[in-house]
């Protein structure tokens, strides 16, 4: 649970500093829609995917780059948590 909170904070920090601040947004809640609010656009998603792969040591498949997984801090955090679960295969 604590790890997930840390994850969320790291993601929030990245999204605010690299994607939102240029749009004069300094505060983002866990459920805020990052796509409808134009915080994540086509360039932003590329930066975000690189950041997630580098920071959380996971591989984001192109099939997974869908709005449902990246629409909010909560959604991104849950997606990363799923990626980090050991595979049952």
């Amino acid at each position: 649970m604590k790890a997930m909170t840390n994850e969320k904070e790291l993601i929030r920090q990245f999204v605010i500093e690299k994607l939102a601040r240029a749009k004069k947004i300094n505060r983002i809640n866990d459920q805020d829609n990052l796509i409808e609010n134009n915080i994540i656009d086509s360039l932003g998603i590329m930066q975000l995917v690189s950041y997630i792969e580098a920071t959380f040591a996971v591989k984001v498949k192109d099939e997974d780059i869908i709005p449902d997984y990246f629409e909010s801090i909560d959604a991104i955090s849950s997606y990363i948590e799923n990626l980090q679960q050991p595979s049952s295969e």
Binding site: D41, S42, G44, I45, D62, I65, P67
Partner: protein
Amino acid sequence: MLNRLTARVKHILKTIKLDIVYYYLREMIYINRVAVAVEKDLSSLIPLKDSLEQAGVKLVAVTPDSIMQDAKKEQSLIFTDEDRRKSAVHYLNEGYQGFAVVREREVCGDIWYTSARNNRKGPIHPDVEWLGIQCGENEAYAFDMYLQPDKRGNNLANLLHNGALHEIKKNGFARVFGYYWAKNIPALWVHRTLRYKELRRIKVTRLFFIYFHIDEVVDKTSGTLFAKRYGFNFTFR
């Protein structure tokens, strides 16, 4: 092994300041690059609202008149990238139709489409054959969306693409086809946020102007591969 070889070639070319050759060769020679063919039902478009105005741009049709290089004319468009202007001239000569997002009169980006209404001999576009797309009477094929590198960001790609879809719908089309490369994350994101539906994935191997295609048909529920189609063509693209 292949990755190491590629990295080595890149390093050598960079050292002798030929990295531009590397980037050119990378587009002329590749193996198993995955193209994703997609379709969009135009009955369910994302509303435009005032988003274009808020971004300080307008969506305009690209016409032969508007790309004449007479900057004094009020309706003429200014392409800062001459190659892009030449592409636009070529596309118009082919009978394709295009839209551009412009700030003042400067083109920030453009996108093109064609359909069976374009009275060309043969296929409506060289891509549709290898993509396995068959455009019906009220269906269009959209292609070659491009944004000027210094204008990227601020959701402009979505605004351009979504704006073009609205215009295509106004022109009486019910469905649009297209494709993107699976590794091209910005293009992938634009298509997915606009709710395009994935049709198939095609592996493309290119050796200059010779293309090989492998179309893998996979059962979506079980993930089982139940057919493979092979194709080959020779095209100047």
